[in-house]
């Protein structure tokens, strides 16, 4: 049993950082003071991840306004649009508006990866929007069909992966809630697979994880199991653990074992029992454990409590360091 752990989305800002960013909006502090707090808070998240022995680290992605903004604000073809609800949550993203086929801006995304990750990129988990979710949630005024756009975004994200591989980054998560909320069929499903083939071609030995949440993943498994990725992740808060289909020889499996919608801490022993049962049935080469939805749906203190559960669950499963 090979178990890996890591955060799967942004970590919440500390109360101190919350206050500082509010003060900045109100002109009561300086950008320099807030920048210093961001840097310190990123180091704190990184230290927490390392102390708990997580296999990939994120430094929290505290500065990212939403999943799309680093791309929507830097690649050509986009403007940033209206506030839009992020699935069934009380958080919002600014919907990217695509006016023309997008053009990637080399170096732009790398510059937005948390600085605390740059000194040791080999352990960093780079979190990106998946091409299907990106295409599905933006306002597409480019004239391109959704399927063509999914494929194009897959190619562009592949270019991004290639560039980041060159900088030493090795683990890439593609966040894809739309895959389970609106499972693709027919040509759209083929476009998703083609998009991920383009990403796989750029991976050069790296790890790719597709992470889903927001709905029961079972209707999407036909597509998920075809994706040429290292692992597919499903949120056990939405998908019945006992009904995850068997797929011996399929990709690795990611399991969202922390529910960011409640402050109630999960029981590590129960997580371990579930994981063992799923592994016995599906036999993935590797199992990635993490939060289902991003932990920034919680305030900082309960999110910190939850991430400790992840480390405790790993211990309950044994050392997890080898097959």
């Amino acid at each position: 049993m090979l178990v890996r752990t890591g955060l799967t989305g942004p970590f919440p800002r500390s109360e101190e950082l919350v206050a500082a960013t509010r003060d900045l909006d109100r002109g009561r502090t300086t950008p320099e003071a807030v920048e210093a707090l961001y840097a310190a808070a990123e180091r704190d998240v990184l230290a927490l991840e390392e102390r708990l022995g997580l296999d990939t680290v994120t430094a929290g992605y505290l500065r990212w306004a939403d999943l799309f903004r680093p791309i929507a604000e830097t690649w050509e073809g986009f403007t940033v649009g209206p506030l839009t609800r992020w699935f069934e949550t009380n958080t919002f993203y600014r919907q990217p508006i695509l006016h023309a086929p997008p053009i990637r801006e080399p170096g732009a995304l790398a510059a937005r990866i948390p600085p605390a990750l740059r000194s040791d990129p080999s352990r960093a988990r780079v979190i990106l929007p998946g091409p299907y979710t990106f295409a599905g949630l933006l306002d597409n005024r480019s004239g391109e069909t959704e399927s063509a756009l999914v494929h194009r975004l897959g190619r562009l994200l592949g270019e991004e992966v290639r560039e980041l591989r060159g900088l030493g980054y090795a683990t890439f998560q593609f966040t894809e809630p739309w895959l389970v909320v609106h499972p693709p069929e027919g040509p759209r499903a083929e476009a998703v697979v083609a998009g991920y083939r383009a990403i796989a071609a750029a991976l050069e030995g790296g790890t790719s994880i597709v992470w889903t949440y927001g709905a029961d993943a079972r209707p999407a498994f036909d597509v998920l199991d075809r994706l040429p990725v290292s692992a597919i992740g499903v949120d056990l808060s939405d998908t019945d653990p006992e009904r995850i289909p068997e797929a011996p020889g399929g990709p690795g499996l990611g399991l969202g074992v922390l529910d960011a919608r409640t402050t109630l801490a999960e029981d590590p022993a129960e997580i371990a029992r579930l994981v063992r049962a799923i592994e016995a049935r599906r036999r993935p080469a590797v199992t990635w454990l993490g939060p289902g939805m991003p932990l920034d749906l919680l305030p900082h203190a309960p999110a910190t409590r939850k991430v400790r559960v992840l480390a405790d669950a790993r211990k309950a499963l044994g050392d997890g360091g080898g097959p």
């Binding site: 919350v18 509010r22 306004a65 958080t91 653990p241 402050t263 109630l264 920034d296 919680l298 305030p299």
Partner: protein, 381 residues
């Protein structure tokens, strides 16, 4: 009961707090701008006449002497006159005493623990609590606030109160989820949420509504802005509404905004004692998209309740013309098939706009309602 004019008007909720209120309730002396705003408002609305001592102290830089509650009294009077001057048939106090619609009611209850801030977007956050124990209410809330409004309002008061579903959805559910056996997946989460909503309704909302009714509240707006967040939980919205209003006699309305209403139907129609749906429409109404077309769905389901028709977009400064308002009312009347069911209001609380813009919008709303009324009485217009 006197017959109402066609297309009566009402507000929906909160308004932006004036600078003099914010400074004054913090005990800070008013600066020149705040003093000027206060004087201009009082010259126009004459709201502070019965509170001359407080007014003079505030304008004289002695905010501490007035005290936070005294400043809020002045603010409540200001908003009542502000809304009445705009010609509204139903008014409240602009929620002058409330910080927002979640934290205050939760702080009146036992069983919750505030956990910290969650980011809504960019650098906007909200404070969120977890329910960790049995819910218990010390005493009904909003009662003194309503007493003050009732004593001073010249138009009919309509009190807004956050509904049980929204309070539950905006909280973390620990207590009820912990009682569920086994893995806390979708089924357990839904069962726990149902218990939470119903307990909030029975233990907090219903006693508060009963107390308000006892003090003379006749029109009560239950705010459920979270109703559209999880469309498959529309039945829980209804269950909470029905439990909160069980056995109570008042005119209840339900405000929902920024939701896909069709997704909530027909489940929502089981809210038995709801007399009016007060919904947002203007925000989604454009030359490319008919924001009012969804009203057809109510007709299809045979629902004959009143509609609180949102005709003002609270997210844009551009002031709707009276003609635009009248056209929207006319379109809605056509979809509903009965103009007498329409109340006219902003989409939501106008706190997102400056008081100047909100006033201009409300006045345009009143003129638009009059135009629509005249057009119906004389179709040649």
């Amino acid at each position: 009961m006197t017959a109402r004019v066609l297309f009566p008007t009402q507000e929906i909720g909160s308004l932006a707090k004036p600078r003099w209120q914010l400074l004054g309730q913090r005990g800070e002396p008013l600066d020149e701008r705040a003093r000027a705003e206060f004087r201009a408002a009082d010259d126009r609305l004459h709201f502070a006449g019965d509170h001359a001592a407080a007014r003079d102290a505030l304008l004289d830089g002695r905010s501490r002497e007035v005290g936070a509650d005294g400043v809020r009294d002045l603010a409540a009077l200001f908003f009542l006159r502000y809304l009445e001057a705009a010609g509204l048939d139903r008014v409240y106090d602009g929620e002058a005493r409330r910080i927002e619609m979640y934290e205050y009611p939760i702080r009146q209850m036992h069983g919750f623990r505030f956990e910290g801030h969650v980011r809504s977007f960019d650098s906007k956050y909200y404070l969120k609590a977890a329910v960790t124990d049995e819910i218990r209410l010390d005493r009904p809330y909003h009662v003194e606030e309503f007493d003050f409004v009732r004593a001073h309002a010249r138009a009919e008061p309509k009190i807004p109160i956050t509904g049980p579903y929204t309070l539950a959805d905006w909280s973390y559910n620990e207590h009820y989820l912990a009682r569920q056996r086994g893995w806390k997946g979708r089924t357990a989460r839904r069962a726990a949420q149902r218990e939470f909503v119903v307990d909030l309704a029975r233990r907090a909302l219903r006693p508060t509504l009963a107390a308000l009714i006892e003090r003379g509240a006749r029109v009560i707006q239950i705010d459920e802005p979270a109703a559209g967040t999880h469309p498959d939980e529309a039945d829980l919205v209804v269950e909470g509404f029905n439990a909160a209003t069980d056995g109570l006699d008042a005119e209840f309305t339900m405000h929902i905004c920024f939701s896909n209403y069709r997704d909530l139907l027909p489940a929502l129609l089981e809210a038995k004692r709801c007399r009016q749906w007060a919904w947002e429409f203007a925000n989604r109404d454009s030359p490319e998209h008919d924001g009012y077309e969804v009203l057809r769905a109510l007709r299809e389901y045979g629902d004959a309740r009143e509609i609180g028709l949102g005709v003002l977009d609270v997210h844009r400064d551009a002031v709707e013309s009276p003609e635009r308002v009248a056209e929207r009312i006319g379109r809605a009347a056509k979809y509903l098939g009965d103009p007498s069911r329409i109340w006219v209001n902003p989409d939501c609380g106008l706190r997102t706009r400056s008081l100047e813009v909100a006033r201009a919008k409300l006045e345009a709303m009143g003129r638009g309602a009059a135009l629509a009324r005249a057009a119906l009485e004389d179709p040649r217009r």
